[in-house]
């Protein structure tokens, strides 16, 4: 197992982290801490098992451990910065911003599941293993998260401008 294989996964870890926390710097901090933990625990990784799933498990653990401590910082960052670029005039861009706002309105638990499935395209089983939850919990978080986003997107007035916990 060489260094290269972990490095190859960095872009995916960054993508997921950014979607999860919104702010690019906080996201990169999360990736950095995930990589450090991964290197330190590398001897625990079983050769031949899915490295990507293992890295997502580590990121989840780092995120959960830090989420409580950092919730305040994350909220601040998201209030200060738009999660994606500058508001453009095209309809497509508005639609993307709306979906991002709806995503932020989900609980962290729902957001993790929705993103691992939508963006990372993990299977439901893989999500359950990565997050350490039974498949039934994966399905209920997915179902609630998607339905909540659908409602928010169907009624733009319902999409909060700020994250409300």
């Amino acid at each position: 197992m060489d260094r290269q294989s972990i490095i190859e996964h960095i872009p995916r870890l960054r993508r997921y982290a950014r979607a999860l926390v919104g702010d690019r710097y906080i996201a990169d901090d999360l990736v950095q801490d995930t990589l450090e933990r991964a290197w330190n625990k590398f001897s625990l990784w079983r050769q031949g098992s899915d490295l990507r799933a293992w890295l997502f498990t580590i990121m989840h653990n780092v995120f959960v451990n830090q989420a409580r401590r950092r919730r305040y910082e994350i909220e601040q960052a998201m209030e200060e910065l738009p999660a994606v670029g500058v508001r453009a005039t095209q309809g497509d861009q508005l639609e993307l911003e709306d979906v991002d706002r709806a995503l932020r309105a989900l609980t962290l638990e729902q957001r993790e599941v929705v993103l691992l499935i939508a963006i990372e395209q993990l299977t439901y089983d893989e999500v359950g293993r990565a997050l350490g939850i039974p498949i039934g919990t994966v399905m209920s978080r997915l179902s609630r998260g998607r339905e909540r986003m659908r409602q928010l997107l169907g009624d733009p007035a319902a999409v909060p401008l700020k994250v409300v916990k």
Partner: protein, 246 residues
């Protein structure tokens, strides 16, 4: 088709349904337009989220992330550097025993940005010059709500030029500038950190040409930046740290 489960409907959206089940779901959707509309919305969510975040895959990976190494390796390197520099035992303990905690990488970037903006400045590198050092330190202390010190780096060849007040994402920032005989400048960025007080180990970040050593000590984050070699900067960072924590 009698009924379908919620899990099957999601699997249909995500394309993970077993091939044999697809036709059953499609028959169900044909006669249940509300479910069909709901699944269309879920599929749209997937597609929008991918459009939104897939571009990140093509971004260059920040150098700081590529530089992450196993801690053992880091520990040996740090220990070697520390012995080479003849630093004290306290330092050794600090660098190796304190588990790496969340140090905002953003601290390093903010400091590097401030360095890039102000260090090349010829006429107005600082707001308050060293001839009013006492005033400078008192003023910045008041704005940051603490008692600051401008470290003395003369023995290392760097003299204080002066300082300025900056605005950072976490409030006011004190920015001290130093210069050596050849005009090489270092800047020290001091910013209040949000959240609970904590201490972290030194971290290094290379932001383009600017090297940054940064750490968090209690309520404050410190970052020393300069376009100098890492080992030279470490020497100065160590002096700064020791003077601030006598």
């Amino acid at each position: 088709m009698n009924s379908v489960t919620e899990a099957e409907l999601h699997a249909y959206v995500d394309g993970t349904l077993l091939e044999g089940s697809r036709s059953g779901i499609e028959a169900w959707l044909a006669s249940h337009p509300e479910d069909a509309e709901r699944l269309r919305a879920y599929a749209e969510q997937n597609s929008l989220l991918r459009s939104l975040y897939n571009p990140i895959l093509d971004e260059p990976v920040p150098a700081a992330l590529l530089a992450v190494r196993p801690r053992a390796w880091k520990g040996y390197a740090a220990a070697a550097a520390i012995f080479a520099l003849g630093l004290g035992l306290g330092w050794l303990v600090r660098g190796i025993l304190i588990a790496p905690q969340m140090v905002p990488l953003s601290l390093a970037r903010q400091a590097a940005t401030a360095h890039i903006v102000y260090a090349p400045e010829v006429r107005h590198p600082v707001e308050v010059t060293v001839d009013q050092e006492e005033h400078l330190v008192r003023w910045l202390s008041k704005r940051l709500g603490t008692t600051l010190k401008a470290p003395k780096l003369g023995p290392l060849g760097y003299d204080l030029v002066g300082g300025r007040l900056l605005s950072g994402p976490q409030g006011p920032v004190a920015h001290f500038m130093y210069q050596d005989a050849r005009g090489q400048r270092l800047t020290l960025y001091v910013s209040r950190q949000k959240g609970e007080p904590r201490d972290t180990a030194f971290r290094f970040s290379q932001e383009d040409r600017v090297s940054v050593f940064y750490w968090v000590d209690g309520d404050f984050g410190y970052a020393l930046s300069g376009e100098v070699r890492r080992d030279q900067l470490l020497k100065v960072a160590d002096a700064v740290y020791k003077q601030l924590n006598p």
